[in-house]
């Protein structure tokens, strides 16, 4: 393996009209933490490289360096003003493969550098697509929705990759992603093919897109220094025929921020989805609470009337890393077992009550009270008691 051809971690920065998205600094923070260790263990000269594309964005470099970047590659061009996948993909690939840029990032690797070793994108409405198309062009591997990263030397034996032989893969990025149920954590590796029955293939960069909120940004340090590299992108004339006609912000269909209480439900509705949702609806009305759900509910797991499905079984209601993050005064979770991805969406609630037949469900660890029972049994009792203790006037 010719690993000296592959250097650095490239972090693809996202911003809207020059305003950095939080995930950009979170990715930089994680890249910095990984590379502080990496620089000690392996090579001191490999860098955290922030790559930022846009129009009139020179002022972002300082913030990016303060948050962990060793250098910032800036492609500043009016053609990069709008989010157009095709144009951005091509420019990112140009930057990844450009020898001149590589020599400015780290002169000592100038002659051997071919491509980045690692690449981070955001797992959001920009980065998901961009990472896919960039890695299709660079012809390497991509893991999505990653929330944990480790760099290690692994001895791997794989029937196809290594032809069953034990091979050391050094500086391998272990990319952890959570499956849709929220309970399984899969480690994805991007590995060269060393199987002797096939042509040798090297896959670099090892890339992933990262869930927003999964990592902490660093505290900005104004003493940090870094170099800023201007990159002149080559834009294909033909691609300029793709035009953004308008771009506007819209409010989410489901607003959690303006509610003091939120009621959530999950797979616990399963025995009678329609009836149970009606019950939850009634309960929420009593407390003037907004209604949210766990992720599986939005995936057509349960059948219900079209009205119920289109109101409640939708992505906009999901609380968690794949949905909205809430912080009400009171959160009541009905029949939610508590996958990590849900917990990270509700953990900022002031007071949490969960209703679950299993008193050892993971949600317990994020609750102040766990009321043991099936939601269909417990809700009517709670409502009767609420009517006694909390006349409706007082609640609203």
């Amino acid at each position: 393996m010719t690993e000296e051809h592959y250097r650095h971690v490239f972090v693809i920065i996202e911003h809207i009209d020059g305003k950095l998205l939080p995930v950009s600094l979170e990715m930089l923070g994680e890249a910095r933490r990984l590379f502080d260790d990496y620089n000690n263990r392996y090579s001191a000269n490999e860098k955290v490289v922030a790559v930022v594309l846009g129009d009139n964005i020179q002022n972002l470099s300082k913030t990016l360096i303060e948050h962990g970047a060793d250098c910032v590659v800036v492609a500043d061009d009016p053609a990069l003003h709008s989010l157009i996948n095709k144009i951005h993909t091509k420019v990112i690939c140009q930057i990844c493969l450009d020898k001149d840029t590589a020599s400015k990032i780290e002169p000592s690797y100038a002659s051997e550098f071919q491509r980045p070793r690692y690449m981070f994108f955001a797992a959001d409405g920009i980065g998901r697509h961009l990472s896919s198309t960039v890695l299709a062009e660079l012809d390497s591997g991509l893991a999505s929705d990653v929330n944990k990263l480790v760099i290690s030397d692994l001895e791997i034996s794989h029937p196809v990759k290594t032809g069953g032989k034990k091979i050391m893969y050094n500086k391998t990025l272990e990319m952890y992603r959570v499956d849709f149920s929220g309970f399984l954590w899969t480690t994805i590796l991007c590995l060269d093919n060393t199987n002797e029955n096939y042509p040798l293939r090297e896959y670099s960069p090892q890339a992933c897109n990262i869930i927003p909120g999964a990592f902490e940004p660093l505290k900005p340090d104004s003493a940090r220094t870094g170099n800023v590299i201007d990159f002149k992108p080559k834009i294909d004339e033909d691609d300029l025929k793709i035009k953004v006609l308008s771009q506007k912000f819209v409010e989410s269909e489901v607003d959690f921020d303006n509610y003091k209480a939120v009621v959530g439900f999950g797979r616990g509705i399963q025995e009678s989805p329609e009836k149970n949702i009606k019950l939850i609806e009634e309960f929420a009305t009593h407390l003037n609470a907004q209604i949210g759900t766990s992720l599986p509910i939005s995936k057509n797991v349960f059948s219900a009337s079209p009205a119920t499905t289109s109101t409640y079984m939708i992505p906009a209601r999901v609380i968690g890393t794949s949905g909205q993050k809430i912080s009400p005064m009171l959160y009541i979770a009905f029949g939610i077992s508590g996958a990590m991805q849900h917990l990270s969406g509700m953990e900022d609630s002031q007071f949490v009550i969960s209703v679950n037949p299993d008193e050892n469900a993971p949600i317990k660890d994020a609750s102040d009270i766990l009321l043991r029972g099936r939601l269909e049994d417990v809700i009517p009792l709670l409502m009767d008691e609420i009517k006694k203790q909390l006349p409706e006037m007082e609640i609203k």
Partner: protein, 292 residues
């Protein structure tokens, strides 16, 4: 002003609907017992193609990569969009592919369809693998302009351009709706919230006619299936299946329990005194609000 040449790539997925899905005791999906069907996002992609067929006229080809005969998925897809042609890419050499190895097969498949495509549709993401990468990667390999999270679109048949609205979801800012214009050919990954409607009586009548036709045709969908092996597709064997996949699944584990952030008091939901305590806690949570 020739008609549109349309393709849809679809996926056979575990049927997550009630009665068909099975979970293991630990909350993970029981893949053995869970039935398979046309993925819900694939179905929306087929509906989006149907919209173009009715409104602008055209031909629809459907492609799927599957080790199963995938009949159920192809039949539903055909009925959904009145497809004219079904293609199944099936070869044990395709097994175990990651997204780029899968995209390579589907790219080769689309190139085997009749003529050059104007629009290729895919779902937003699969519900089982749910990486959302295959669509954009096929687009890139075919050299098509990729438009993701499309919630509505229209075609200007004279200019041969498409105008699409895209929903862009980002953490930390409100949702963005972007309106974008691009010359054909394009690849559209359809957003789950996509809905079409036909605004004239004549379009609604055409749609009805096509739906009847589709229903008839789907009864004999077997007659329309073309099956391709790797060799028949002409796909490079080092670019598909496990050998064509840069990534592997190294390990699968239960997500470790996070540190408890709170220590819950466990109460019994059938005990009236405990119900009373719970509601008192609710009341206190609300009065804390008032103080604030």
């Amino acid at each position: 002003m020739s008609e549109l040449n349309l393709a849809v790539v679809v996926k056979l997925e575990p049927d997550l609907s009630e009665g068909n899905i099975s979970y293991n005791a630990d909350g993970t999906l029981d893949r053995q017992k869970t039935k398979n069907t046309l993925g819900p996002h694939s179905k929306i992609a087929a509906q989006a193609a149907f919209y173009a067929k009715v409104k602008y006229g055209g031909k629809i080809s459907i492609g799927t990569m599957s080790g199963h005969a995938a009949n159920n998925a192809l039949q539903i897809a055909m009925e959904t969009c009145d497809a004219d042609l079904l293609q199944l890419y099936s070869d044990h050499k395709f097994a175990g592919a990651d997204t780029i190895g899968t995209a390579e097969v589907l790219k080769n498949g689309i190139e085997k369809m009749d003529g050059k495509m104007d629009i290729v549709f895919s779902g937003h993401r699969a519900t089982d693998g749910e990486t959302g990468q295959v669509g954009p990667q096929i687009a890139w390999k075919l050299g098509l302009t990729f438009l993701g999270n499309v919630i509505s679109y229209d075609v200007d048949m004279e200019k041969r351009t498409v105008t699409a609205k895209r929903l862009v979801n980002l953490r930390g800012v409100p949702e963005i709706i972007q309106e974008i214009e691009a010359p054909l050919p394009v690849f559209i990954a359809i957003d789950p919230s996509y809905k079409y409607y036909f605004d004239t009586v004549s379009l609604r009548l055409t749609a009805e006619k096509y739906k009847r036709e589709a229903h008839e045709r789907a009864q004999h969908f077997d007659d329309y299936i073309q099956t391709f092996t790797r060799e028949e597709l002409g796909a490079d064997e080092t670019l598909v299946g496990l050998i064509g996949s840069p990534t592997i699944v190294y390990n699968v584990q239960r997500v470790p329990k996070g540190k408890a952030t709170r220590s819950a008091k466990v109460l019994d939901g059938s005990n009236p005194e405990h119900i009373r305590q719970t509601v008192t806690a609710i009341k206190e949570a609300f009065s804390a609000m008032v103080i604030k």
